[in-house]
């Protein structure tokens, strides 16, 4: 099988152009977002793990060690099966602190820019052999297919296209951890292509060379058995070591770290990849032995060194070779693209920016973007140079293992980062240096030179002398790394900053930040401070970005909000230029105030984090968290207002009842200083905090609901100096009780006046009767017309006085209607006249005009005394609501067996807020002391006793102002008909 170089070039370039087209289709929106953001795309993008090693190296491994080749797939599958306990915590950290690479993560955890630099250098050294492996497979595939003598130049052409792709679609954003949909889609496309090609090659071997699975099994049990039996099996210890290496590679290799954590994907998607990626790897691994056995069946020599490229020997048909070539090109290009992106970011943040901080750099974003593009090209070119100078002399296994073992040196640091808060920088750097030195001497330097590997076996491990170099170097380097790491960490001190970062990174801990005020007073001032470092435009953009993410206002001056804003800006800058530079800038330009009170823990923030991490808690921690939530809920839902302040006066809690009472949501004020709370709360709460007494009773406060009387009680929180201090304040609304007290006093006064009136009426009654009798006698004793007229007048006036006194006595008695007693016909006109008599006795409202339009003939069935009380209350209210000179009209008309009595005034009407509560006791719109709030409830109950109803119109339909109260009372009908119950007007 031979393909011309031109055809091969066309095939390769055509494939890469297809890749460009795929990315372009996503970028231009030609593909639906639902498809582009589907979790399957992410899982397929994670398939970048299956590099050229998976296509060619695995076949080489299978020919050497049988199923030992599976270690590459099973190691990575194991890492993703452990996604919930391993990858999700890393993802949480990288997202929270905007860490885009392994170097960022280590620099953040161990609080040193030099740690980031060290990790970057180790990654660079480790990745070069892997890059060389990718280029080598391209070169060898070109050579095998076309017979070209110098395939490296065509490989360089492909590398250039790959670099161009990475620059165009991977370096669009200045922020390293922005999601690149087009890039992800292209890598997913590559995974589909390599998987499809591998499955096609496997199917060809199974059905084209063998006659299906049964024939293959028969061949394996028969003619093929000797060849399989000769295949060496990996020693179990070596197998486990390989598994460990590939386990580490699955999330430590820069390209895997980049796709898994830097592309901002959801936790759910990552968890889904926990089973989906192993499935992808299973399908990738399945064709490998089929290709090998197919080649053996065809009689191809499967011995080294060409074993990696057995797929090309399965058939003389050009398309089989093309499939093998495309599978390798897809695998190699995907890996090279993502490695170049990841490494360029690391080099930028931890080498370039550390050496040359971008303080006051004009057009920072553009400068960073172009720097990164240059680095991408340099990384890919570096891979090609390494291949040309070193890679050509080594097989795939040697190059690949050298790379994976190098990156595995970061595994102890990563595990300590997650699970050992006691680990410190000195320990990590010492351990990593020890491990890397063993690796360099044992595997990496020997790649460059003809000298044998230099591995010094510690005493007691001489038994390893005859084992493969990779195995010995892995064991010795990792042992040296781990032991040094632990011993140095235990023997040296950990700085406070490291301890805080360790808590932030630790799986079982929640970050416990301290509560310190910033020098800047709000978001606008932060922009101003930051502009000195980043320039005005970048500072504005970064602060606005952080404000938007946190949903904060630029003028929000709450210390809590400003601390969150500072953290978010630091995280965003970390995504832009790495955690070390970001921390430097933030520490320098957004400092904390040094003159403030001692720092205390930010309890509100800790609680919010606990809420977010709840699903990760287990065992006792989960039970305790359940208890915490219960107590929290108890305080939040307490039907009494409650707030808590820290020692520095910062508001820590504002419960639901207080939010309802004040009309201020807790989220908008928690974290604010008490002096900055909205009035009147700042003064009121400041007053109780300043008072030596623990209680303030019935403080008049004007709120949105009107005048309220609040009682406040405070208690100090701290029991000893180790506990967080501050105060808790209970706020009780005693307004109704206050009004009730006032009304009771008023009612008691009225009651005594009533008793007095009854007594006075009784005392007046006797002399009046005497006067009336004397006037009567006078009429009998004289015939003088003048005297007779005088006697008549005296009698009329005494009758009037008697009527008034009778009304007063009747009203003072005013008892309830006795149930079962039949109602008598009552004239509403007479009842109204009687009520008006009494109303007119009152001095107020003398200038209001009353008009009784009730027809005297209309009667209702009822209790005259009780109905009089109704009319007194209604007319009295109308009088109180009327302005001087106003008119109150009382009217009545029969309607279908009912008498509709209306009392209409032209006053100020009824307030909207009390309209729904008018018939509730103690509801009044009158000033305190003037109204009992009992009148209308009494009216309601009397009308209800009569089987009637009340309606209120305010203002009435034909008036601009005023109120009309309408009473439906049963009409007294001569023919004995009962009122119509189905009257639609009612």
């Amino acid at each position: 099988m031979s393909v011309s170089l031109a055809s091969l070039s066309a095939l390769g370039v055509g494939y890469l152009l297809l890749l460009f087209l795929c990315a372009l289709a996503v970028e231009r929106g030609w593909l639906p977002t639902r498809l582009v953001r589907h979790p399957a795309v992410y899982t397929l993008a994670l398939g970048v793990y299956a590099s050229a090693w998976a296509v060619y190296g695995s076949i080489e491994q299978a020919s050497r060690s049988g199923f030992g080749y599976l270690a590459y797939y099973l190691g990575a599958a194991g890492a993703f099966l452990l996604a919930p306990v391993l990858l999700v915590p890393i993802q949480r950290m990288t997202r929270t602190y905007q860490l885009a690479s392994l170097a960022d993560l280590f620099a953040f955890r161990f609080r040193s820019r030099w740690v980031g630099t060290l990790i970057t250098l180790v990654s660079l050294l480790a990745v070069l052999p892997l890059l060389a492996l990718q280029v080598q497979t391209m070169g060898n595939a070109i050579h095998l297919l076309s017979g070209a003598g110098s395939p490296e130049w065509l490989a360089l052409g492909f590398c250039s296209l790959i670099a161009l792709f990475a620059i165009l679609f991977g370096a669009r954003h200045s922020h390293l951890n922005a999601r690149h949909d087009s890039l992800l889609a292209a890598i997913a496309f590559e995974s589909v292509v390599k998987l499809g090609a591998m499955l096609a090659l496997g199917a060809f071997a199974l059905y084209g060379i063998f006659d299906g699975p049964a024939d293959l099994q028969a061949w394996l049990d028969g003619p093929g058995h000797p060849a399989q039996a000769e295949t060496a099996h990996l020693d179990p210890a070596q197998w486990r070591t390989l598994l460990l290496l590939f386990f580490a590679a699955a999330f430590l290799m820069p390209h895997m770290f980049h796709i898994t954590f830097a592309e901002t994907l959801s936790r759910r998607t990552l968890l889904q990849a926990g089973w989906a990626l192993p499935l992808f790897l299973l399908l990738m691994a399945l064709p490998v032995p089929l290709i090998l056995w197919g080649a053996q069946r065809l009689g191809v020599d499967t011995a080294d060194p060409a074993a990696a490229y057995l797929a090309f020997t399965l058939s003389s048909s050009w398309w089989v070779g093309a499939l093998a070539f495309i599978a390798g090109l897809a695998a190699a290009s995907g890996t090279m693209i993502i490695i170049s992106l990841a490494l360029s970011g690391m080099i930028l943040n931890h080498l370039v920016l550390v050496a040359h901080p971008p303080i006051a750099q004009p057009d920072l974003y553009r400068w960073l973007r172009w720097l990164r593009r240059g680095l991408i090209a340099a990384v890919i070119l570096g891979g090609w140079v390494f291949y040309r100078t070193v890679g050509v002399h080594h097989d795939l296994s040697t190059l690949g293992l050298a790379s994976f073992i190098g990156m595995a040196q970061c595994l102890p640091g990563m595990l300590a980062l997650l699970y050992w808060p006691g680990a410190n920088r000195k320990g990590m750097v010492s351990g990593l240096t020890a491990g890397v030195l063993v690796w360099l001497a044992g595997l990496w330097v020997p790649l460059l030179s003809p000298f044998p590997p230099l591995v010094i076996l510690p005493p007691g491990l001489e038994v390893l002398a005859n084992e493969p170099d990779w195995y010995v170097v892995t064991l010795v380097s990792l042992a040296a790394n781990i032991l040094t790491f632990i011993l140095v960490s235990l023997a040296t001190r950990t700085s406070a900053g490291e301890r805080a970062a360790a808590e932030a990174c630790s799986v079982d801990a929640v970050i416990r930040p301290m509560r310190l005020p910033l020098v800047a007073a709000n978001g606008e001032e932060i922009k101003h401070h930051l502009a000195r470092a980043l320039g005005e435009e970048v500072a504005n953009r970064e602060v606005d970005r952080a404000l938007t993410a946190l949903k904060l206002s630029p003028l929000d001056g709450r210390p809590y909000a400003l601390r969150r804003l500072r953290d978010r800006i630091q995280a965003n800058l970390s995504g832009l230029m790495g955690p070390s530079v970001a921390q430097d800038i933030v520490d320098r330009f957004l400092p904390y105030r040094q003159d403030g009170p001692d720092a205390t823990e930010d309890i509100h923030f800790v609680e919010s984090r606990l809420e977010a991490y709840r699903s990760r808690l287990t065992g006792l921690a989960r039970e305790l968290d359940g208890l915490r939530r219960y107590h929290r809920r108890t305080l939040t839902r307490l039907p009494v207002g409650l707030c808590a302040f820290g020692e520095d006066g910062e508001l820590l809690m504002w419960n639901d009842a207080l939010a309802e009472l004040s009309g201020i949501e807790g989220e908008s004020v928690i974290g604010a200083h008490r002096d900055t709370l909205p009035p009147p709360w700042n003064a009121l709460l400041g007053q109780i905090l300043a008072e030596p007494a623990s209680h303030l009773y019935k403080q008049p406060v004007t709120l949105a609901k009107g005048l309220r009387y609040l009682s406040l009680h405070k208690a100090e929180l701290h029991e000893d100096r180790h506990e967080p201090g501050g105060n808790v304040i209970l706020v009780e609304d005693h307004s109704e009780m206050k009004w009730l007290e006032d009304e009771l006093v008023h009612a008691a006064r009225l009651a005594s006046i009533g008793q007095l009136a009854a007594g006075v009426a009784h005392e007046i009654g006797n002399p009046i009767t005497g006067i009336s009798s004397l006037a009567q006698n006078l009429r009998y004793d004289t015939d003088d017309p003048a005297l007779l007229e005088t006697a008549d007048q005296i009698q009329q006036l005494t009758d009037r006085v008697s009527r008034i006194v009778g009304s007063l006595v009747g009203f003072a008695h005013g008892g309830r209607h006795v149930a079962g007693t039949p109602f008598a016909p009552v004239s509403m006109a007479a009842v109204t006249d009687e009520a008006l008599h009494l109303i007119r006795l009152a001095r107020s409202g003398e200038d209001v005009h009353y008009e009784n339009r009730c027809p005297p003939a209309l009667e209702v069935l009822g209790d005259g005394q009780r109905l009089q009380q109704v009319m007194i209350n209604l007319v009295g209210n109308a009088r109180d609501a009327s302005d001087p000179g106003g008119r109150v009209v009382i009217d009545a008309e029969p309607r279908a067996g009912w008498l509709l009595v209306s009392v209409t005034d032209e006053g100020h009407g009824i307030d909207e807020r009390v309209r729904d509560h008018l018939f509730e006791p103690f509801t009044t719109t009158k000033p305190a002391g003037e109204g009992t709030g009992l009148g209308l409830p009494l009216v309601y109950s009397i009308v209800a006793e009569h089987g009637g109803q009340i309606e209120i119109e305010s203002p009435p339909a034909e008036q601009a102002t005023g109120t009309r109260i309408q009473l439906w009372l049963p009409l007294n009908q001569e023919d004995g008909e009962s009122p119509d119950e189905s009257d639609p007007d009612r």
Partner: protein
Amino acid sequence: MYVYRIMLFLVFGGYLLSPLLMSGWGSAGVAWYRPFVIWGVLIALTLWLEQKRKLDERR
């Protein structure tokens, strides 16, 4: 969260027992696809545990 412990147990158990996988290569009478079937079962188990985890977290 208890589901994660089962997952840990599965992965570390699998790690210790995994060398047995290799014995199938070149052994007469052993189905060539045996490692892949075991692997497939493990994936199915993980998928099932993932569903359980979702229910656990929803509670």
